[in-house]
Amino acid sequence: MSELIRKNASELAEMLGKGEVSSVEVTQAHIDQISSVGDAVHSFLHLTTKGALAVAAEVDRKRAAGESLPALAGVPIAVKDNLTTTDAPTTAGSKILEGWIAPYDATVITKLRQEMMPILGKTNLDEFAMGSSTEFSAYGPSKNPWDLTRIPGGSGGGSSSVVSSFQAPLAIGSDTGGSIRFPGAVTGTVGIKPTYGAVSRYGLIALASSLDQIGPVARNVLDAAYLQDVIAGYDPRDSTSLKDSLGSMVEAAKNGSLKGKKVGLIKQLSGAGFQQGVQNRFAEALKLITDAGAEIVEVDCPSFEYAIDAYYLILPAEASSNLAKFDSVRFGMRVTPEGNPTIERVMAATREAGFGPEVKRRIILGTYALSAGSFDKFYGAALKVRTLIQRDFDAAFAKADVLVSPTAPTTAFKFGEKVADPLAMYLNDIATIPANLAGIPGISVPIGLADEDNLPVGIQFLAPAHKDAALYEVGAALEGILEGIWGKRMMDFAPKLEVN
């Protein structure tokens, strides 16, 4: 294993800038790691390594010619396969889009190309990002590099497993109810859901448009900050894109501090009922936060009790509408039944063959929630709960700069443990969902290993909308304190990946 792949993205960027290493060397080292562990971890659905090496060579040529280059030029990255790309298939983890090549790049992809970051490939996800484990990917699950018999989180388990198995230093994810933060927590990596609208969704295959947000996946907070600064910004092609800049996340991460901060401990998410090892690490982290000069204040968010329920009505309702576009006409699969069927029967046969169980379940649930007779009781009520959750956040942020909770109730679970029980699967997102309902930013930062299973535990910080910088500040500060105590990085605890 090349030492290069264990470097953080910001370290690689610095080495590249000083000419200590070439981008081709860095990119090739990651391609070698993909060859070595890729089959065992199954993070990628499509590789674009040839294109990545071409970009790397171009970066090296420009650097040799003395041209000035963007901060992350030459640093390789992987992207979730629900972002459209013109040079590789985009499947969103679904059979219905198998082999589809998009006619345009997502805005985030365009930004990565402008930054001259070699894109190594497209990462696995639960079908259309519906799931917490990648077990609902039509192309098979990704594995958790800490223990290959366990899930890497979802829906962005491809991106979290890529970064935690050193196949790429950075990845892009999308977070609708925790799909960046939950995978981050269970793989010992950093995941951020920026403020709604901070990153353009143009070219992101929509799951639930009022909840979806693209964000960075990385092995430390500073790397994530560099990536957010690359992908954020106003985009006229996304009508929900924020016009105002949120400032420099890199600066916030470099000035990481907890001193004088008011940190709100959410009463409803303080860890009661969570796995014991999660509670233990969380309690220790709170102590470190206090020792670093922050003040912990308890905040009460009573409506959070209804967050999962509201979410599992709003999301399916929006998804049932968004996924109507998969109609066998403009792109993707077409299944034509025997005889002389009408287009409606062709659509129904195609969607039956092309969609997996969780997607069908949620489309049918969403269709019900929106239908006359049940609208008020379900979808309409969920929209009202959304107001209550926003009010809870408003009240909490009147008392605290940031809020804190464990990212997830458990560490990574085993394959098959929850796949047959939708409600059990939905509970993984209990701490992450409220942020999506309110549009506020959240970060998951690793805080050590659970006592009972030696698997990673994450802490979540939440900040008011537009205050993403506060997350990078407190996240980087806590990470620095922990690395000081450990004398090493979180990923240095990971067992050696056993591959054949």
Binding site: I101, P103, Y104, G197, S210, P236, S239, T240, L242, S303, Y306, D309, A310, Y312, L313, A324, S328, V329, R330, F331, G332, M333, R334, P341, T342, I343, E344, R345, V346, M347, A348, R351, E352, F355, P357, K360, R361, I363, I364, L365, T367, Y368, S371, K377, F378, A381, L383, K384, V385, R386, T387, L388, Q390, P422, L423, N436, L437, G439, I440, A465
Partner: protein, 98 residues
């Protein structure tokens, strides 16, 4: 208890244009019932005076400048179609023969 029946699931699947097989109808009837029983408690959290929030950031009438920009060519737009001809998406009959 929920009032989800196999007929309701068939009706919803038909509205959503998904031709479920019978084993899926049975499974979804049970699972949908469990999910709806669980989420129905949200009605106890609200009353008629609670305002609705459909979107995290209030937005109205978002427009961009009306300027001509390059867009997808017809060829690009058709490039992913399962079937096409004469510059159009080709589909099965819209209306039944009856």
């Amino acid at each position: 208890m929920s009032d989800v029946t196999p007929d309701l699931v068939r009706h919803l699947a038909n509205l959503a244009r998904i031709e479920l097989d019978e084993s899926e109808v049975v499974r979804f009837t049970e699972q949908l019932g469990v999910i709806l029983d669980s989420v129905a408690k949200i009605s106890s959290a609200i009353d008629e005076n609670t305002p609705s929030t459909s979107h995290p950031i209030p937005l109205t009438n978002v427009f961009r400048e009306d300027v001509i920009e390059p867009s997808l060519s017809q060829e690009q737009a058709l490039s992913g179609a399962p079937d096409q001809g004469q510059g159009r998406f080709r589909v099965a009959a819209i209306l039944d023969e009856e």
